[in-house]
Amino acid sequence: MGPFNTPWLTFIAWIVALGCVLFSIIWALCIFKPGDEDE
């Protein structure tokens, strides 16, 4: 069992959503370079 008596496989759904938020921040700050495509 994971936190709050939640089975781990179910709890991971929350982690996936949180992971997306973190990844979007990393993508925006470090990966995406608009460059000369921007018009």
């Binding site: 709050f4 939640t6 959503a17 979007s24 921007d38």
Partner: protein
Amino acid sequence: MSEPLIYTLILLVYLGALVLVGFITGRRTKSVEDFYIGGRQIGPWVTALSFVAAYFSSVVIVGGGGFGYMFGMATLWIGAINVLLGCTVAWIVLGPRIRTFTQRLKTMTIPGFIGERFQSDFACIFSALIIVLFMIIYNVSILKGMGHIFEVLMNVPYVYGVLISCIIILFYVSIGGYLAVVWTSFIQAWVMGIGLILLTIFAVQRVGGLTAVNQSLGSIDAGLINTPGTWGWPGLISYALIVSFGVWGMPQLVVRFYSIKNLKVLKIGTVVATIGTCMALLPYFNGAIARTLFPSLANPDLAIPTLVKTTLSPFGAAIVLAGVVAAGMSTFSSVLIILSSSMVQDLLRRGMKGEITRRKSLFWGKIGSLVIGFVSLLIALRPPALVLTLTAFAWAVIASTTLWPILFGIYWKGATRWGCVASMIGGCMTALFWMAAGKPFGVHGFIPGIIVGFVLMVLVSRATPKFSPEHINQIWG
């Protein structure tokens, strides 16, 4: 203050704000480009949150609660996949290229982009026809859902619920166009978010905390807290994929990328949209909580309304009600503007070979949105059985038709005109027939639709003449 009065006051304040936005944006809508894509000047917050509001209709909130009630916590995965595929990956994969390519091709609509990218009037008109036909049906289902919500939550007769929602939406869309749609959707996203968060906090508190929620659910049936639980992997995964990957072909969402100010806006937009879409988990979660409190509801769709009415104060319940109505209105208005643009820009202008001037286009755009709105209203007042049956088809058919032409159109230089035409017709017809055949093997029509569309796009593109380097260079730069 009596309960109905509180409901009415909160709703009036909310609806009044929408009308005000209609007036303000109406003054700023001067050209046809303003009317359909906000003059490509929309900032990150408004683009992102209006995307979230258009993504989730009231049917999703009430229906999602129903799924949570029936299948328990495993349905949180639907929300999680919504965030991952339906939002974050969609924004990263589609956003930058759609914004750049549509600017280069000077198109304002999805069928317009497909027509210019693949240099095919047929592809443009076919996709516009599919969008107009099936989006009207989709719109009717949203309107119908809103009528039922007014009925269940406020005891307002169905007909009045439909009339109130539709007339206010028609007012602000026909005056302010896309600007009104995105700004009202921006407000609606906040109302939805606040409503859902309020409901979640009070519902968890009522049961006695998160651990108590899980213990209580587990004591009813261990399958209600496990994944995949009582639903099973095939049902859970296929449904999650349909409502997440399918949005990549839905014009009312893809058009958000047309209208953003510039590519730098996409950075903040992607983060804001991802955070906003996380609210997708809450209807499922609250539906599961409702199961612990009311284990024997006759209809699972009553899970959220019952939870709202019995958990929150009348003031809080009124905010959640406004949130549910907001979800429906934002989706309806987004679909309405897409319908108007497809009908006027793609069918009328292209059909008449550009004889309608840009000034007249704006006029016809406004008339078009009014006509389509009234048609949807008339059908929704007494929906015939055929419309209700076709509602289940609408989403699968539109996504199966437009998904690959959009995706291959921005990522594969080798995609050809005939590949696009074959993919659209094959994908659309497969989805249509599969659904008409009663979803063999329990698989939704969207899945075979996109498989056939994908195969046809690749095979036919390889076998037919490529575009000239000039055309490709014009798009890719």
